[in-house]
C-alpha cells in the first residue's frame, strides 16, 4: 500500500541553524501539506501546496519557513533560522484530490529538537 515517507525521523539542531525536512508524498497525489505538533498540544496546520505554489498558509508559517517541490517526488520544508519554539513533530501529508473527497494521508513525522 502506498504511503507518505519522511526523513529524517529525528533531527537535532542548534538555535539559529537552517534545517530541511524532507517528505516523499504518495506518487499520484497532487496536494501536499505540512503540519506540526508541539509536545502536548494539538496538531496544527502550517501550509498547503498545489500546482507548484502555496495555496494556503497559517499565521505560524512566517518568513522563516518555506516549502519546495524540487523534483517530481520530494516535498521539503525549510526553516531558515530555527528557534527553540520550533521544536515539534512535523508531519507531511498528501491527498489525491481535494481532501473533502479522500482525506489527507500522513507520514510518520520528523521530530525536530532545537537546542
Amino acid at each position: 500500500e502506498p504511503e507518505v515517507t519522511q526523513t529524517p525521523s529525528h533531527q537535532v539542531t542548534q538555535m539559529g541553524q537552517e534545517v530541511i525536512l524532507r517528505c516523499v508524498p504518495i506518487s499520484n497525489h497532487l496536494y501536499f501539506y505540512w503540519y506540526r505538533q508541539i509536545l502536548g498540544q494539538k496538531v496544527e496546520f502550517l501550509v498547503s501546496f498545489y500546482n507548484n505554489e502555496i495555496s494556503e498558509k497559517s499565521e505560524i508559517f512566517d518568513d522563516q519557513f518555506s516549502v519546495e517541490r524540487p523534483d517530481g517526488s520530494n516535498f521539503t520544508l525549510k526553516i531558515r533560522s530555527t528557534k527553540l519554539e520550533d521544536s515539534a513533530m512535523y508531519f507531511c501529508a498528501s491527498s489525491g484530490r481535494t481532501s473533502g473527497n479522500l482525506g489527507q494521508f500522513f507520514g510518520p513525522g520528523t521530530r525536530l529538537t532545537v537546542l
Binding site: V43, F91, S95, S99, G100, N101, G103, F105, G109
Partner: protein, 114 residues
C-alpha cells in the same frame, strides 16, 4: 473559524469492553469530519471519514462514528476493544468547499488493559 473539542484526554478500558471517544466541533459552515489514529512511534493514519450521505460511518477494524449535526458531534465507538487498539485518536474537521486545512482536536489516548 472551526474548532474541535475532544473532551477526554485519556480513556482506560479493559479488553473486550465497549468504548466511546467523544468529539464535538464548532463551525459556522458545513464540514467534513475525520478520525485519525496514531499508534506508538507511528504517524497519523486515517481511520474513517464522514463526507456526506449516511451519518454512520465504519472502519475496517470495527470502529464506527456517527455524525450528529444538531449536537455538532462525531463520536467514535467500538463495541469490543482489543489490546491492539491502544493508541491516540484524533478527531479533525475540514470546511466544505473551502480551505484544505484540517483542524484537529487535542487527541484522546486510549489504553486497553488485559
Amino acid at each position: 473559524a472551526q474548532s474541535v473539542t475532544q473532551l477526554d484526554s485519556q480513556v482506560p478500558v479493559f479488553e473486550e469492553a465497549p468504548v466511546e471517544l467523544r468529539c464535538n466541533y464548532s463551525s459556522s459552515v458545513s464540514v467534513y469530519l475525520f478520525w485519525y489514529v496514531q499508534y506508538p512511534n507511528q504517524g497519523l493514519q486515517l481511520l474513517l471519514k464522514y463526507l456526506s450521505g449516511s451519518t454512520l460511518v465504519e472502519s475496517i477494524n470495527g470502529f464506527e462514528a456517527e455524525f450528529n449535526k444538531s449536537q455538532t458531534s462525531f463520536h467514535l465507538r467500538k463495541p469490543s476493544v482489543h489490546i491492539s487498539d491502544t493508541a491516540e485518536y484524533f478527531c479533525a474537521v475540514l470546511t466544505q468547499g473551502g480551505s484544505e486545512k484540517l483542524v484537529f482536536g487535542k487527541g484522546t489516548k486510549l489504553t486497553v488493559n488485559p
